[in-house]
Symmetry: D2
Subunit: 401 residues, 4 copies
Amino acid sequence: MQLGISDNIKSVVMQLRTFINEVIIPNEVRYLSELQDDRWQSPPVMQTMINQAKKAGLFNLFIESDKHQFTGVEYAHLAELMGRSEIAAEVFNCAAPDTGNMEVLAKFGTDEQRSRYLVPLLQGDIKSGFAMTEPAVASSDASNIMSEARREGDDWVLSGEKSWVSGAGDPRCKFLIVMCQTEAGASPELRQSLLLIPMQSKGVEITRMISVFGYDDAPQGHAQIRFTQVRVPSTSLIGNTGQAFEIAQGRMGSGRIHQCMRSIGAAERALELMVKRSTSRYAFGKPLSELGGNVDVIANSRIEIEMSRLMALKAAWMLDQRGLHAALGEIAQMKVVVPNMALNVIDRAIQMHGGTGVSEDTPLAKMWAAHRAMRLSDGPDEVHREMISRQEIGKFPLTYV
Amino acid sequence: MQLGISDNIKSVVMQLRTFINEVIIPNEVRYLSELQDDRWQSPPVMQTMINQAKKAGLFNLFIESDKHQFTGVEYAHLAELMGRSEIAAEVFNCAAPDTGNMEVLAKFGTDEQRSRYLVPLLQGDIKSGFAMTEPAVASSDASNIMSEARREGDDWVLSGEKSWVSGAGDPRCKFLIVMCQTEAGASPELRQSLLLIPMQSKGVEITRMISVFGYDDAPQGHAQIRFTQVRVPSTSLIGNTGQAFEIAQGRMGSGRIHQCMRSIGAAERALELMVKRSTSRYAFGKPLSELGGNVDVIANSRIEIEMSRLMALKAAWMLDQRGLHAALGEIAQMKVVVPNMALNVIDRAIQMHGGTGVSEDTPLAKMWAAHRAMRLSDGPDEVHREMISRQEIGKFPLTYV
Amino acid sequence: MQLGISDNIKSVVMQLRTFINEVIIPNEVRYLSELQDDRWQSPPVMQTMINQAKKAGLFNLFIESDKHQFTGVEYAHLAELMGRSEIAAEVFNCAAPDTGNMEVLAKFGTDEQRSRYLVPLLQGDIKSGFAMTEPAVASSDASNIMSEARREGDDWVLSGEKSWVSGAGDPRCKFLIVMCQTEAGASPELRQSLLLIPMQSKGVEITRMISVFGYDDAPQGHAQIRFTQVRVPSTSLIGNTGQAFEIAQGRMGSGRIHQCMRSIGAAERALELMVKRSTSRYAFGKPLSELGGNVDVIANSRIEIEMSRLMALKAAWMLDQRGLHAALGEIAQMKVVVPNMALNVIDRAIQMHGGTGVSEDTPLAKMWAAHRAMRLSDGPDEVHREMISRQEIGKFPLTYV
Amino acid sequence: MQLGISDNIKSVVMQLRTFINEVIIPNEVRYLSELQDDRWQSPPVMQTMINQAKKAGLFNLFIESDKHQFTGVEYAHLAELMGRSEIAAEVFNCAAPDTGNMEVLAKFGTDEQRSRYLVPLLQGDIKSGFAMTEPAVASSDASNIMSEARREGDDWVLSGEKSWVSGAGDPRCKFLIVMCQTEAGASPELRQSLLLIPMQSKGVEITRMISVFGYDDAPQGHAQIRFTQVRVPSTSLIGNTGQAFEIAQGRMGSGRIHQCMRSIGAAERALELMVKRSTSRYAFGKPLSELGGNVDVIANSRIEIEMSRLMALKAAWMLDQRGLHAALGEIAQMKVVVPNMALNVIDRAIQMHGGTGVSEDTPLAKMWAAHRAMRLSDGPDEVHREMISRQEIGKFPLTYV
C-alpha cells in the first residue's frame, strides 16, 4: 500500500506548490476585490492565472493526457495542494463539478457531446453544472428524485425543480447534466437517466441563488432551477436510459476523494494561519502560543490532519487497486472524517484569531462555511456512517431470536 | 436560590411569549425581504412592531420603570423569550448595545447627557454604539487599548481606531460611547475614560463594515471606525477620568446574562425546528426521527439546554443577591457554556435540515454565525476559563518547591 | 424553584461536612486496611463510625423521623456531602440498596415485615439486597424478567437467577427483595410481584461474586444468585401481586437522585484532589497547574460539576413539587448527565496524578470504576436518552406521509 | 510509503492469526482459571502454548534471526495480531519489557551479559524488568530521577526507590535494568547510567505490588522496589556511564510502536465483541444494533481504528526509513492517538454489553484498565502533545514584540 509522493509526481508537486504559493495565494485579495465590482462575472485575474497555469503545463491535471498520467493516489497529493486556496482548483481547471462532468462526457458522451461540450470544458472556455438534489425531498435517498423527462417524438421534455446546482450562476456555465426520471416503472435504481441540458434552453429558469452561511459563493453560486417543459433532442441523453445511477456513481469515488484531499489542504492552510497567529499575537505579556491550552489545540490539529490524510490516501489506493465497490467502505469513512476534521481545525484557527477570525480578513470564515456544507453534500455524515456500520455488522450477522 | 418563574412575571411571560410567537416570528420573513430593498435602513415593519410593543406595555422591560420592576432572574426569563427571534430584542427596545448604554447613562450620565441621549434612547427614537475593541491589539486584554483623548482647553480631542462597533451602521445610531486612554501615567486599570461621541462629529469615519461569516448583520452591522482628532466638549466625559473600567464592568454582569439567556431562547427555537424537521421529513421510508442516532441528537440537545439555562439563572441570582464580584465565577462559567451549547444545538438542527440548514431558508445558519462570534466577543472562552481555573486553584494554593 | 441550601438544613449541612471531613475521610485508609484482613466482613472501624454518627444524630437522614424532616431538595444537598467518601453513606445508614428497601417496607410492608426487617434495618443492625437484573436477558427492558414464583398452598415457590444483587456479599445482609413473575397472563407491566426472601432460605445460593473492573467491592459486593425452589410463606409478598413495577418505580425517583447527588460529591472530591496535585507536583520547573491545558482541564471540571448539580437539584425539586410522573424527564436527564460528568472529572484527576491515579494510592481509580458501572445500572444512558427524546418528539408529533 | 502487508509477511500473518484464534483465544479462560489457584506463578497453560509457538517457528518474531527478518512496518502488522489477546505477546516471547531489554542487551550488552541474560531471555526461560519511574517525582521529566549508584572499588552501590517495575512479580523475573544517577555533575541528559541488577541481589526489596483499577496484573504485576545499598560488580554497567538516556531512547521508538499496534489489535477485538453483542442481544423487540445511535457507535469505532492504524504504520515507516530523530513527531502523534482511540472503542463495547461489560465475563474491563494506564506510561499525553506543538511552532517561530 504505497501512499507517499511517488517519483512520478515529485516535480509536479514542487511546481504546483510554488505556483500556488507564489501566484495564486498572493492574488486572493485581488480576486475578491475584483469580484466586488461585479459579483456574477469571473474576475479578470482568474483568466490571467488560468493562462499562466496553461503555459506552465499545470492544466487539467485531473485527467490523463499526453503530458501526464497520474494514479488516484498521485492526483490526491496534487488535489491537496490545490485545496490550500479556495480559488486554486479553477486555475488548474480541476474544480467540481466540471471535473466530474468532463469524466462523464469522456466516458459516456457521444462524439457530438464531446466535441461540443467536452472540448471547450477542457480548454476552460466554458463551465457546467450537475443537477441532482431536489428541494422537495430528502435527496440523501436518491430514489426520491421526482423530476421527470418524457419522450415526445424525437425529443425529451423535462419538468421539475432542482436545487444546489453549483456553478450555475457563472455566465460561462453553458450546460447542465440533469438527473431525471424516465423509467417510472423500473426498479428504483434503474428509473433515472442523465440528460445534457443547455443553459439557454427554453424553460430553464434560475429561480434564486442559494446562500451558504451568508455567502453567495459568487461567481459560481448555487442555483435553484425550475425546468418547465424543457425540450431537448433525443441525442441529449448521456449513456442509456436508466443508467443515471451507474454513471453518477463514478463521481462518488474519485470526486469525493478529490474534494476531501482539497479539504486537507485547506486544513493545512488553517493550521498554518493558526500557528502564525499564535506566535505573533500577544496578550497578558505572552504570545498566544504560550497561553492556556493552545499547545494542545495546535498539537491536536496536526494529529487530526495527519490521520485524515492517511485515510483519504488509503481510500484513493483502494479505488486505484481494487475498484469502486471494494473501496466504498474507505470512501465513506473518509467522507465522514475529513470534513469534520477540517471544521475542527478551521474553527480552532478562527478562535486563535479572535474577532478577525469570523470576519472577511482571513479565508477562515468562508472556509468554515464551505466545509460545513460538505457534511451534507454528497450524502450527510449519517448516511455514510450507516453504510460503514452495515459493513461491520455484515461480518457477524444478526442472530434471530 | 429561587430560579423559577416568579408570580411577579407570570403574566408578562405569557404576554411576551404570545407577542413573539404571534407578531414577531410571523414577520421575520417580511423583515428580511424589506431589508433586501435597502440594507442600511431599518425595515418599516420594525417600527410597526415597536409601536405594537409600546402599546402592549412591553417596552424597555430591561430597566426599572413605573410599570414594572424585575429582578435579574426575572428579567433573565424574559430575555430568553426574546432570544427566540433574532429581531425580537429590538422590538422591545431591549437590544445590545443600547441597553448597556442606557444603563450607563442612567447611572453615570450628567443631566444633559440624559436628557439629550437617554430620553430618546428609551423612546426607541435613536440608537447608539459602544466602542472598545481595537483592531491592532488583543482586546481580550483591555489594558492593550491605545486610542487616546487629550485635553485641549475645554475640549477632549480623540484619536484612534476601533473595530466591532456594533449598531453603527444604522442611520438611527446617533452617538458612541468610546473607551480611550486619558491617563497615560496611571496604573493599567485606571488609564481609560469613557467619552460620549456624537456620530456626526468631525473626524468620525466608518472605514468599513465588518462581516460575520457571510453576513453583514444589516441594518446595524459592525463598524470599523477611525477617529481623527475628534473634538468634543469636556462635558462629553461619562463619569470621571480613569473610571472607564469600573463603569464598563457593570455591562459584564447583566449584559452578559441577558445575551446568554437570549442564546438559550435561540437554542430552544433551534431544537424546535430540529424536532419538527425530524418528524416531517422522510428518507428510506422512515421519518428522520427514527433514523440512526437522531434520538440521541434530540435528547442531548434538550439536556444541554436545560443545564445551561440553570447555570445562567444561577449567575443571575448570584448577581442579584451577592453583587458582581461574588458572581464573577458563575458569570464566567455561563459565558463559556452557553454559546458553545447554542452552537452545538444549532449545528445539529442544521444537520437535520440537510442543505436547507446552511441556506437562508431557516434562521439557523445566521443564528450559528452570530453565536460563533459570541465565543470571541466579551472575552474569548479561554480568558473566562483561565479565570475560573484561577478561582479553583486559589482554594488550594501553590506549594512552592 | 428554590434549589439552594434552606435554613432548615444549614446546621445539619455544617455538622455533616465536619463529620465527613474530620471523622470519615481520615478513616478511609484504616477501613481499607482492615478490609484486607477479611474481605467479607465489615471492618470494625465502620461500626465505630456508625456509633459516632448515631450519637451525633446523623443517622437515617434519608427518611422522615421525629428529629428531622427534609424535602427532596434538602436531602439532595446532604447526599452530595456523603458522596465525598465511598464509605460515608453507610456510616449514616443512607446507602443503597438499604434506603430504597426501607422506603418500600415503610410504605408497602406488612406490620410483621416492618417489625422484623424494617426496625433492624433502621438500626443499622442488618443489611438487605434488591434482586431485579437477570443474567440471561437485557434487563433494561424489565418486561424481559423471567424468574418466577408459583403459589403452592400457603407458600410462594421461587425459581430463577439474578445478577448484580449488590450488598449480598455482606454477612449482615439478611434478606432480599426479589422481583419475579407471578402473573404470567397479565399485561407486561402487571406480571411481576415483589417477594421478601430471607438470605438463609433453602435454595438461595450465591453462585459467584461479580467484579467491577478489578474491584470486588467487598464487603458488600455484587452477587449472582440462583433461586432453586425457594419456598416462603404467602406473607412474604410485598404489596399486592402484580404491583412490583409500581412499587419499584418509587426507587427510580428519589433513589436515582440520591445516587446522582452522591456522584456530584465524588466529583467535587476528585476536583479537589486534581487541583491539589496540580499545585504541589512539579515537572519541567513548573507546577502542573501552569503546564499545557491544565487550566482548561480544571475550569471545565468546575463548570461541568456546577451544571450537573443544578440539573440534579431541579429533578429533586420537580419530584418534590409535581410528583414522579412529571419529574421523569428531569430524572432521566440527570441520570445521563451526572455519571458521565463524574467520569470525566475523575478521569482528568487521574491524568493529573500520573501513574498514581490508576493505582490504589488515591480513591480515584475505584471511584471511576463505580461510576462507569452507573452508566449501566438503573438503565443504560441509551434508554434514558430514548425517553427524553420521545418527550421532545411528543411536542411536535410525526407527520405521516 | 509502503504501509500494507508485504509479500514477506503474508504467510506469517496467516499462521499467526490462525494460532491466536485457534490456540490462544480459546485458552484465555483456562489461563485465568489456573491463575486463580496461584496468582504469582505463570499458569501451566502458558508454557504449553509457548512450546507450541516455538515448534511453529513463531518465537521471538520481534528480533532478526536466521529464520526471519522483518522491517518495522512488517513487525507492526504482527504486533497488531498479538494485541488481540492479552496473553498472546508472551506466548511468542514478544512482550514488554523483555523485548526492549533483549534489544538493549543485544546492542549494548557485554559478552558476559549476553550469554548470561540474553540467551535465556531469548529462550523464554527467564523474564526481566526495567526500572525507571520513581514514586517521589514527576517521571515524565526524566531529569528528575534521583536513584543513585556510587562507585566503591570495583563495585557499583545502588540506592533508591522505583515504582511501576512491570513484570517483577513473576518468579521467572531474574534481573532488572535500572536507570540511576552516576554522574551528578554532568548536564541533565548525561547524568544517568543503566545497571543490570539481579533480582536476588542483597538489598533489592519489593515493597508492594501496585494495582491498576483493582487489577493486580498477576503473575507479572507492577512492583514498587526499594534498593538499599545494592552492591553489584562494575561489569553490571550496560554501555557507558551517562549513556542511559541514549540507550533508553531506542525503546521509545520501536517499543512504543509495538505497544500501540497491539492496542490496535485489542481495539479490533473490542469492536468484534461489540458488533457480535449488538446482533445477538435483543431489547424492546429489536437487536441492539438497530436501537438508538448504535449504528453510529459501530461506524465511528471502525473509522477511528482505521485512522489510528495508518498513523502507527506511518510512524513505523518513518522509523524504518529515516531513523528515530526524524520519526519523533509521528511517534508522539501515535502515542497520543492510539491509547485514546482504544479506550473509546473498548468503552463503547462495554456499554453495548451492559453490566456484563464491566465484569470479568469479557476481556473488556481489564483491557480498558490497561489502556487507561497507557495514557500515562511512557509519558502522559500532555508531554507528547507539547512536543508535537513545539514542532509546529518551530515552522513559524515566535515574533518577539
